[in-house]
Amino acid sequence: MTEPSPKNIIWYGELTTQGSLMKRGLGFLSPGMVWLLVLLVLPGLVLVAVSLITRGSYGQLLWNFTSENYTRLLGFSVFGWTADYLRILWRSVVVAFFTTLLSVVLAYPLSFFIAARPERTRYFWLTLVIVPFWTNMVIRTYAWFLILAPEMPLAKAAGWLGLVSAGSPLYPSAFAVYLGMISIFLPFVTLPLYASVERLDWSLVEAAQDLYASRIRVFTQAIIPQTMPGLSVGIILTFVPAMGMFVVPDMLGGAKYMLVGNLIQQQFGASRDWPFGAAISMGLMVLTMISLQLYRRKFREVELV
């Protein structure tokens, strides 16, 4: 047997050279990567560039560079300073945060309940969570119109309690936005969380109980760490889209409860102010990245997918 020449390598049973291996690898890599570069990375960079230019009076792009769009987002204009845009940005973070939190709070009992079903009916219950997950959010959002209508018990009860004036619907309102958001994102948390709950090692929970841990400590120290992988996926799958959500606030929040998603959509729709829309998108991007980074710092073992 001859020794392989120094240029040859053995790569998982294949006698090859570094060069031909790389060439074949690039062949596999390039269609997808070229696609992502052209239609994801490049448009992203164009968006950054557009956020730094101005628009003409017909909405056309004028390529003179300026930081005007960003100072406008921070609230500065010829009329002085207002916190309007910053308030919308902050509100989006708050809504995304509480939507995620409340979805997690509801997803835990639901996942445990499903995991405790006997094998035969477990799939039935799981299917009940997957169906809304797969149903388009426009349908699931407008469906709340019916439940929140003035003729329905919920609005009537709120009317009696004096929470809203009698005979008015419960939307548009912050309450309706939260209802809509949580109902949409609950399955996003529940499904990955359930995958972790199903694999839970109950002996650790029992050990904690044997050692007289309180219910709260059992949950925080024996259950949360074990379900962390699924929980993290669920939190990211919820928080990220919730930050940019525009369907729910548009339909259930109205002009009074705008979120950053609506603001962006306005610039690309009615206002036709792409540079400002691009600048707001950058603001949203930065806020999302900061939030994810804070989360990752708190829970080190988080993986994104």
């Binding site: 992502l36 388009n136 469906a143 990211i236 525009f246 949203l284 994810l292």
Partner: protein, 263 residues
């Protein structure tokens, strides 16, 4: 089977009720003969029958399906090839990190940012070719883009899970590159590819924002149609249409589950 505390059980059932209450409302009012108001008059399929004579709805349904199918097929092919490229070759640590970051962009950015970026990019491309006028082409390109990421991530994790022992054995038995791909990797990978394709299909059906930013006058999808229609007022036809969409979703979910559980 483990017994759950009654509080957990009742919370879980209440949550389920909360999830289905609005959907049930839509279904109930879709078979109500009253055009306005919230009183149930009598049972009817009238609104369903009307849907099938509504050209706009039929066209929107066709567009939704076309968009989902074309984008899923393309994204599955491209994403699978990309996943093999990522998982099976010795790229350096640095390059791997860069590729990984690009791949995760659609996962960690709100979809409205991708939508905005595509609007701007297509807006500029319009100067080059009228192909990029808002419409089906743009929608398909946009959907493929975010679906590629998800397909690649799913297929890659499957590639990592099946390991390389079988491939190495095939190499030792003098399998060619093509033989290895066709008769070893792809069959082993099939469940991952199917799972990735189903995820892509779901994401496409679920999407509203990317479609809404890139659609043109002749490429309305069902979600866009419903979104526009309920602004003019909620009608029993919309309820009927939504109920049908939900029913089709149920069939898809159950069908997929049957398909994957056998394996």
């Amino acid at each position: 089977m483990r017994r759950m505390h009654p509080v957990i059980t009742s919370l879980a059932l209440a949550t389920m009720f909360f999830l289905y209450l609005p959907l049930a409302g839509v279904a109930v009012f879709s078979v109500n003969s009253a055009r306005y108001g919230f009183v149930f008059q009598e049972f009817t399929f009238h609104w369903y029958a009307k849907l099938f004579t509504n050209q706009v709805v039929l066209e929107a349904a066709w567009n939704t399906l076309l968009l989902a199918m074309v984008s899923t097929i393309a994204a599955t092919v491209i994403g699978t090839i990309l996943a093999i490229g990522l998982a099976r070759f010795p790229w350096g640590k640095k390059l791997e990190t860069v590729l990984d970051v690009i791949l995760h962009i659609p996962v960690v950015t709100p979809d409205i940012i991708l939508a905005a970026a595509l609007v701007v990019a297509f807006g500029l491309l319009q100067y080059v070719s009228s192909l990029f006028e808002p419409g089906m082409v743009n929608m398909i390109l946009g959907h493929i883009t975010f679906e590629i990421s998800f397909v690649t991530l799913v297929v890659r994790s499957r590639l990592v899970a099946i390991g390389r022992d079988v491939e190495e054995a095939a190499r030792d038995l003098f399998a060619s590159n093509w033989y290895l791909l066709r008769h070893v990797i792809l069959p082993l990978l099939l469940p991952g590819i199917v799972a990735g394709a189903m995820l892509a299909f779901t994401l496409s059906l679920d999407d509203f924002v990317i479609s809404f930013f890139t659609f043109g006058p002749s490429s309305q999808t069902l979600p866009i149609y419903i979104f526009g229609a309920v602004r003019r007022g909620v009608t029993p036809e919309i309820h009927a249409l939504s109920t049908l969409v939900i029913l089709i979703t149920v069939i898809l979910v159950v069908g997929t589950e049957r398909l994957t559980r056998k394996k």
